[in-house]
Amino acid sequence: MIDDPTLLIPIDVSAPETPPQALVDLLEPLRIVVLGHYPVPDQAAPRQIQETHEDEAKAAMEPIVRRFAEQGTDVESVLVFTRDHVTSIDRVANEHDCDAVLVPGSVGDLSDVLVSLKDEQNMFRVLEVVGFLLEETDPDVTLFHSESVEKGSAISELLLRGATDWLTERGLDRDRITWREPSAETQTSDLLELAEQHDFVITGESEPSLAERVLGDLPDRIHDRTGRAVLVVRKAR
């Protein structure tokens, strides 16, 4: 069970984008680690780049961290100058016991959230994060089970009903929750289409995830296709 869910928000401070206020509001119940990462080119040492760009990087991080802090969120900041931001994100996520990682993006007016429930190990963790985020706020929730092999699969339906009950017990209004089953052949593209119709996506760490990469590539694909922010709940470490 997650007691004090922690979210890592990586920001490329060489080209910073401030997260939208609606997202900042939504994420308020979580403990947040803002990770500023600054790229180090091939022929340079991280120290060199740090010397020349540290002030610039901090200045870029400050307003973003400030937003969360002003919201009353418990926020920590980490700045790295790195040759490989994926590896750095993974390391910092581990060191700070982060339960989830955000792929920053747009969220529209944040009126609905897509929750992709994929593998069973991770499912409660995803639901818990959803619970934390949506208890106090009012977006609609669409549950999606991408593992069902056939449309109308009983397991898939029971699972989605169970998840709905779980969230209802957690205090969410049942009317806010709907669910979709994918058709057999087009699971991923269905997810991508659904993602386009929603403002924000919450998903589990994708499988198979590359050995050292935190997110796997599905969240990135969702983000690339839709521009939406994606929150990826990591497996228990």
Partner: protein
Amino acid sequence: MASGTETQLERTLGFREALTIGVGTMIGAGIFVLPGPAAALAGPAAAIAFVAAGAIAVLTALSASELATAMPASGGPYHFINRGLGPVFGSIAGLGNWLGLAFATAFYAVGFGNYVAPLVGGVVPPLGLGALPLSAPQLGGLVAAVVFIGVNYLSTKGTGDLQNVIVFVLLGILGLFILLGVTQADVSTLRPLFPEGLDSVFPATALVFVSYLGFAQVATVAGEIKQPGRNLPRAMVGGVVLVAAVYAVSMVILLGVVDRDAIAGSGTAIADGAAVVFGAVGSGIVGVGLLTFGGLLATASSANASVLSASRINYAMGRDGLMDARLSAIHERFDTPHRSILLTGGLILVFIVVGEVKSLARAGSVLHLLVYGLLNVSLVVFRETRAGGYDPDFEVPFYPAVPVLGAVLSFALIGFMELPEVLLAAALVVGGVVWYVVYVRRRVVDTSALAMYRGSVPLEVEVPVEFDFDAPARRAEEVTDDG
């Protein structure tokens, strides 16, 4: 295919175009200038020397193909070594590559002078430069070199299409020589095959290796080649094989039609051969004319191309911080790396004055052998360290045999050079290290595959950050403070 950031250029070169570039940079000077000196060293076995040198070049060509499809950036062999082994070896390779090309250019220019001398013989009185007496070929070479340096200083354009024409003209002339000669060559004159002993093949190989310099030029346009994983190695290896075949067959025919002693040491031996070959069909003078024309064309185009190649290496070293970037600055009006061309040109002129043709050829060879040996080592390093991002489209077959053999043979061939050239190679290594210590070390961080593997390059550095607005209560104050 690697990432899309590697090149902004369109992939427009097919296999044939790539092959032409490869053949164009190789064909010519070697066969027009070196048969005489090579025959003097090894007799008919000089043909074997051409094949042996070609075989060593093929090994390196395979390695260079793999490296070029993994990192197609300007700079060729120097770049691969710098990225693989770091700035110490990068300094050695850069200087070696650069000076090697300058020596080779001097060699081509004197070779050109060899062909010019008989044409203007008697017209120009013997001259000396101060205390240094200059031979007619040297004088011709100096004049030619000044012209090539000037041409390159003024423009880099317009040589591409011409180069293609030159390649086909040269192949045509040599093809005609081979066709006519093959019926006349007297195989019995090729006996004994090894008049100077079996060992003589090695120094001859070392001497003629200079004929293959430039196959790696194809690597510098890797980013523009279509399907590089397939076309690049085929163009590079195919170019070396084609050129080696033309050289070896021409050599055999030459010694089949003329007496070895008559051409030994001659800088225009192939023209002497042509006199006989074409004479048999009643037009010896045409043959001499054709081959002399070929010799002029070949040496001129090789010299012209290497002036520019040498300045490209200055540019790449400047980009990587191994040399002052001002050296490779582009002239605002002529659009050429004028300073680099002047410096390289100055060296070329000095080399022409102080060197004679064989020692210039060997100096060009020895420095390139050093570079090619390191290039093969670099490939092994990339493979063994599983360097991040190293993902070549083409992989050398029979790894690790090919690069290991390529490195060992390249270095071993240095041992068959004359003492001055061996010392030159040693001096270059020392010079590269000194250059690194006095200039490069302060400016460049070693981020090569080797340094990454040794862990001496940190992946990242984490900086503590503490912003001063932890509590919402605090915010109110700050807002008022800010006004």
